[in-house]
């Protein structure tokens, strides 16, 4: 099956457990974190994630919905992009 990629950007007020929350949401839908970059700037949590996913468009949508849901729960602003669909790669 083809590999799909998802780019996640998340930001919000920093506190313990944010990476854990998002990372477990990724793992729950079978995504694998290929790259991760997180930094706290003036108390603001900023994170980028590159996720790889074995599956089709449906599994991508499932990942996107699950991550957005989780981001809401955590009080974060989250974007989930398919870099190919966006025409970035």
């Amino acid at each position: 099956m083809a590999k799909k990629y998802a780019l996640i950007v998340a930001l919000g007020k920093d506190r313990p457990g944010l990476i854990a929350g998002l990372a477990s949401a990724v793992a729950e839908v079978g995504g694998n974190i290929e790259d991760l970059d997180e930094v706290v700037m003036k108390g603001v949590f900023v994170m980028n994630l590159l996720i790889s996913l074995e599956g089709d468009q449906r599994s991508f949508e499932e990942l996107r919905n699950h991550i957005l849901e989780k981001g809401k729960e955590l009080g974060l602003r989250v974007e989930v992009h398919d870099p190919k669909e966006e025409g970035w790669v």
Binding site: P16, I19, S24, A27, G31, I33, L36, D37, V39, V40
Partner: protein, 309 residues
């Protein structure tokens, strides 16, 4: 600073960061990347709001790393900013797959007898020194050519060559310290390019083993003593040394150096080492030591912000 290295698979980031979150530890900087099949993550963690002692943090992370099968190292700021200059390796079970004595026993046709002694030693019926003497005695009469043959077929763990070459080109002193035998250890050490090799010396007479060991038998105290001697000779402090081992024999060294790494370790080592690697790949050890860009990046940022404040 928490460094994680292991074969890439889903759930590593979640597992480690959940453990940190449960302790109320806050990750202020994180970088992770998978390269080929090796996943490396470096976390700079603020422990200000953590209510439990540092030792508990260490134990929780080591335990979690063990569960998900990745190597983990936990260093405090005064530790990870320290320059490391020397790396000491154990041989059997660490750098070398399996136990050389068993291979030699096979060659000498005394496999069963040697296994029996090993079993007794494991169960504490006889001491390590005693067991080594008895097993060596069983090798009496084995031609040196056949010992060399065994030396030639010894397999080092994956990533060992890459690790030694990388360390050497970075200016590290590399030391192999083993309770095994010199003929084998020197061959392995020469092939990989070690600076120093210390091992038990087999006595050879007329081309065959006499079944004796020359000089003292390398025990945990001796291992630490020779490491100290080499370090001193190069003007290196013990806290600037890294030690990698798996067994009770290595415990004293692992506890006394700046960064002691348990490599697929036995239980005693698991409890005492600052860093654990549960996979048979030396590249994971390299990553825990800060080779590869990720750890350097974060170290540089910490140094920079220290300089600014």
């Amino acid at each position: 600073m928490v460094t994680v290295a292991g074969f890439d698979r889903p759930g590593i980031v979640a597992g480690i960061t959940e453990a940190l979150a449960s302790l109320n530890a806050n990750i202020v900087k994180a970088r992770a990347s998978s390269l080929l099949n090796l996943f490396v993550m470096v976390l700079l963690v603020d422990l200000a709001e953590v209510k439990v002692p540092f030792k508990v943090v260490e134990d929780v992370l080591k335990e979690r790393g063990n569960e998900i099968g990745v190597g983990v190292s936990i260093e405090t700021e005064d530790g990870f900013l320290k320059e490391r200059r020397l790396v000491a390796f154990d041989a059997d079970g660490t750098l070398i797959n399996g136990e050389v004595i068993d291979e030699l026993a096979k060659e000498a046709g005394v496999e069963k007898e040697v296994k029996e002694i090993t079993r007794k030693a494991m169960e504490g019926e006889i001491s390590f020194k005693e067991a080594l003497k008895m097993r060596t005695a069983l090798l009496k009469g084995l031609p040196i050519d056949r010992v060399k043959k065994v030396a030639n077929r010894i397999k080092v763990v994956p990533g060992a060559q890459e690790m030694i070459s990388t360390l050497r080109s970075a200016g590290f002193i590399t030391v192999l310290i083993t309770g095994g035998f010199d003929i084998i250890a020197e061959e392995v050490g020469r092939k990989l390019g070690f600076d120093y090799v210390f091992a038990n010396r087999l006595v050879v007479k007329d081309g065959v083993l006499t079944g004796e060991v020359e000089g003292g038998i390398m025990d945990p105290e001796d291992k630490l003593r020779v490491l100290k001697e080499v370090a001193e000779k190069h003007g290196i402090k013990l806290e600037e040394c890294v030690a990698i081992g798996d067994g009770a024999n290595d415990l004293l060294i692992i506890k006394n150096v700046g960064l002691g790494i348990g490599f697929n370790p036995k239980r005693v080592v698991k409890e005492q080492a600052k860093a654990l690697v549960g996979i048979k790949d030396m590249r994971a050890v390299l990553a825990l030591m800060g080779f590869g860009q990720l750890k350097r990046d974060i170290e540089a940022k910490v140094k920079q912000s220290n300089a600014n404040s």
